[in-house]
Amino acid sequence: MSKYLLNKFIFAIDRDPELVERYREDPRATVAWWEKERANVILNLPESEGSSWQLLTEEEREALATHDYVALFGLGAHPFLTLTLFIALFERDYTEPLGFQLEYARKLQHWSLPYPDITT
């Protein structure tokens, strides 16, 4: 489990308008690029001082590569981060107000309390 890194990916994409579009258009390649080039960059440090050990699990990588927000919820990604990014990715494809958000809720209907642990 690398919930921290899962959240870090979502956080990193969500704050960058170019990465939002890149992730929308080609999620698998964006995840592969990010994991190779960016996963070990520590937010507040020069790149030369990064980590050397960050790696997504296969399940996490696949959930990100397939835009599978239901799987991300199950894996314990922070729901606020996931929701915010996925609204940016897909709200535009829905004509009804809150259309995407309500579908998102419906797709998670099989979950009841307790939800997956989001502690990192």
């Binding site: 507040n44 729901p79 809720a105």
Partner: protein, 286 residues
């Protein structure tokens, strides 16, 4: 001595700005009532004639992330840039620049440390909608210097609920004891029951109207003990997965003390209930 002229505790709804500024043809049907309620609430601050605003909120993973997550943080800077790209994108919020009050920030940091709160601090804080939403609703001219105080309500492990109350009580004592002749208001925002990114999100009401009813009663009546007896970090998952934002309301109850609110109002909206509370610790005409 400083005069704590008003304590305001409210929800922060990022859609208010867009709903209230939309042209008539795209204005949602609930906007008029919402604007009326917000303007009435704004008057509760205006009449107190504050000079400095202490703003309690919570960063939504904008500047603060899991690599370096403080529980309680005070901003100390002459200015605060405000609102982020993803808040413009999702909520249509405007970019803002707020003045800071460094002297009060420095005092609260020093005195807070001495009173047992080992605050983190930031000399370059870019605040988000948890600070700007209440500016937009209660002081839209955004002309007063602020002291931002952030709490962690998002990234477990969180401090226990009593600790938020204790922080509120401490802030109250410190502001009351600040040896500067200034009119200070404390404005804090949180949430009632709320679900974000889960199966109960964006329903016709907040996810747990019964929790909301009880929470409004605790706040309006100043029933800190009742809230503390009922609320645990574990129990807050039940009304909705983002209901830990209620901890900021508990903090504000600590600031206000165990007294009835001088003003209490609510608005039942889709997704969440809005709530507006004001106390005048030294009387409404202090």
């Amino acid at each position: 001595m400083a005069n704590l002229v008003a304590v305001l505790a409210t929800t922060h709804h990022p859609f208010f700005y867009r709903a209230s500024t939309a042209p008539p043809e795209s204005r949602p049907d609930f906007a008029d009532e919402w604007v009326r309620k917000v303007e009435a609430y704004r008057e509760t601050l205006t009449r107190a004639r504050p000079e400095i605003l202490v703003m309690v909120g919570s960063d939504h993973f904008h500047q603060l992330f899991y690599d370096n997550m403080p529980q309680f943080l005070i901003g100390k800077a002459p200015f605060y840039n405000a609102n982020y790209y993803n808040e413009e994108r999702e909520f249509g919020l405007p970019r803002m620049v707020l003045k800071g009050h460094e002297e009060l920030s420095a005092y609260l940091l020093r005195a807070g440390l001495d009173a047992g709160f080992d605050f983190a601090f930031s000399n370059e804080l870019h605040v988000d909608h948890s600070i700007t939403c209440p500016i937009i609703t209660t002081r839209p001219q955004a002309d007063l210097p602020i002291v931002p105080i952030y709490t962690n309500i998002f990234a477990p492990p969180l401090p226990q609920p009593w600790r938020y109350v204790q922080l509120g009580r401490t802030l109250r004592q410190l502001i009351d004891a600040w040896p500067v002749d200034a009119r200070v208001a404390v404005i804090g925002t949180g949430h009632l029951s709320l679900e974000l990114g889960g199966p109960r999100q964006f329903g016709p009401h907040g996810p747990d109207p019964e929790f909301d009813r009880q929470a409004v009663e605790w706040i309006a009546s100043g029933d800190i003990e009742g809230a503390l007896q009922a609320v645990t970090l574990e129990s807050l998952w039940s009304p909705g997965n983002a209901t830990h934002g209620f901890l900021d309301f508990m903090l504000m109850m600590g600031v206000a003390g165990e007294v009835k609110a001088d003003y209490a109002d609510t608005l039942d909206l889709f997704h969440t209930m809005e709530a507006y509370f004001t106390w005048y610790p030294n009387g409404a005409d202090a």
